[in-house]
Every structure is written in structure tokens, then in C-alpha cells.
Amino acid sequence: MKEEKENSIDKLFSQGLSEPGDNASYREEDWDAMEAMLDGKKKKGITRSFTDTGEQHCCNVAAGYWLAVYLNPAVKTR
């Protein structure tokens, strides 16, 4: 009985979401992104593009410099 009642939620959503209509209407920019993927120019996610660029390298250098200068006991005693 309870399962039958709960199925009414499932039924409501499975029937109500079967026809997306205008919500799934075609957008040319989606095809542009698809074409870029097919051409091997896939737009990378923000995290991935960050690690792939020189910015990551610059950050590593800056962090290394900071550690060397500020955490060096010789510098601290000055």
C-alpha cells in the first residue's frame, strides 16, 4: 500500500518529464561546443586549464620563493 502511494511520486515525475518541449530546444552554441570537441579543441574545465598553463608554474615558483625566504631560519634571525 505504502509502496503504491510512493509510486505516485515516481509516476508524477516519469510522466511529467517525458516531454521536455521547449525546455530542450536546439541551441546553436551547443553545436559549436560539440564541433570544438570533435575538432579536438575541447574547452577544458577551469581547474584543468589552470594546471595546464604557465600560471600553475608561476604559483609554484612564488610559493617556493616564499618558503625559502620567510621560513629560512637564517633569514628569521636577521
Partner: protein, 213 residues
């Protein structure tokens, strides 16, 4: 689309003909997007998942058996891609609000007059784990055993998440009855409406959603 036309497009796609690829993409865009919208938090995420799915379609079209329905094959790829997307964001999925379900008195929900946008809005407000399990069980018709294998979770977790998803949806439906035309926004207030037409960078939309939490 007729069978002969579909076969012509498939042949063209197998030769990497861009026009055939575009025509096939356009012909099945609505169907594929309809699936992805249910699994995604917003339209931009859905587009991203759908394109990943179509990429698999184009790259694996040689494996498609022309004697079988194309829509069923495409639909399975879209669902599997949505699951892959869920898995790749597993850490995020489990840091989302996964709480105890409040039990709402059982009433008949199937006859509620809610349109597609309202239902999709409710489903997109569910935490990703609940949404994925609800979709797989209630809409795709998978069993808890199959869902457990697909998502690498126990049958108990699948059942429990489905129950919590249903309870949350009941709350939203009840609330929407109190305020006609306005669904309850408990979580994911920052979701971009699916009918939002402004173009946004796909790569940052998902990250923004996460960082704002």
C-alpha cells in the same frame, strides 16, 4: 526521422562528415537534452553532459547495430554519460546536503497538476546523489541492485537515498501547492533557470555552483 534517412546520416557520420554529424545531433538534440536535464543541476551542466554523450556516440558509431532502435542506444549512452559525470563529481555529490528524510503524510501525488518546468525545477533542487538515484529508479526503471552496481553503492544506500529523494519531492510539491506557480527553493538557490537564454561559459558554471555553497 525515417529509417532510411537515419542510415544515411549514420553512414555519413562514420566517414566523419561534419554535415551528417550536425544533422544527427540536431535530430536527436531534444531527446538527449531531455534525459540530461533530469540528471544535471542546470541547463549548462546538461549541455556539457549531452555533448560528452554525443562525442561518445560519434566515436563509437561503428559499434551501433543498425537493426536496433537508434533512440534506445543513444538514450543508454546519455544515461551512462550522466552517471559518469556523477561519478567524476562524487566528492561534490556527497558534500551536498544529504540529510534525514522528514516523513510527509502519504497523499495521492500522481494527479497533481504540475508542468514540466515545475517538475524539473524540483528535481534539480535535489542533492546530486538523490537526483541520480531517483532518476535511475523512478524514471529509467533500474532496480536497486543495478543502481548499486552502477554507482558502486550498497543496495541499502540506494533504497535510503530514493526514500529521501521522494520525501524531499513531497515537501516541494506540498509547498508548491501553498504557493501556486512557485516551487520551494530549499537548496541550490543559485541554480541558473533552465529557460535562461543568456550564454554562460560552460567551464565555470559548475564550479561557481560549488564554490557559492
Amino acid at each position: 526521422m525515417g529509417e532510411e534517412e537515419l542510415h544515411q546520416l549514420v553512414k555519413g557520420c562514420l566517414k566523419d562528415d561534419r554535415l551528417s554529424q550536425k544533422l544527427l545531433y540536431k535530430a536527436y538534440y531534444g531527446f538527449a537534452m531531455g534525459i540530461c536535464l533530469r540528471y544535471a543541476a542546470n541547463r549548462y551542466e546538461a549541455s556539457e553532459i549531452m555533448n560528452q554523450g554525443f562525442y561518445k556516440v560519434f566515436k563509437n558509431l561503428a559499434k551501433y547495430d543498425l537493426t536496433k532502435p537508434f533512440k534506445a542506444w543513444l538514450g543508454r549512452i546519455m544515461v551512462n554519460t550522466s552517471i559518469d559525470y556523477y561519478r567524476s563529481n562524487l566528492k561534490i555529490a556527497y558534500t551536498e546536503e544529504l540529510d534525514k528524510a522528514e516523513h510527509i503524510n502519504d497523499t495521492e501525488f500522481a494527479d497533481r497538476n504540475l508542468n514540466y518546468t515545475e517538475l524539473l525545477d524540483m528535481i534539480s533542487q535535489l542533492p546530486r546523489a538523490y537526483r541520480t538515484i531517483f532518476n535511475l529508479f523512478a524514471i529509467e526503471g533500474y532496480t536497486h541492485e543495478e543502481i548499486g552496481e552502477m554507482l558502486n553503492i550498497s543496495i541499502g544506500t540506494s533504497k535510503s537515498n530514493l526514500h529521501k529523494a521522494r520525501e524531499k519531492l513531497k515537501v516541494m510539491i506540498t509547498e508548491s501547492n501553498k504557493m501556486p506557480g512557485q516551487t520551494n527553493r530549499q537548496v541550490n538557490d543559485n541554480i541558473v533557470p533552465i529557460n535562461h537564454t543568456k550564454h554562460t561559459d560552460l567551464s565555470i558554471s559548475f564550479v561557481n555552483n560549488v564554490t557559492k555553497r
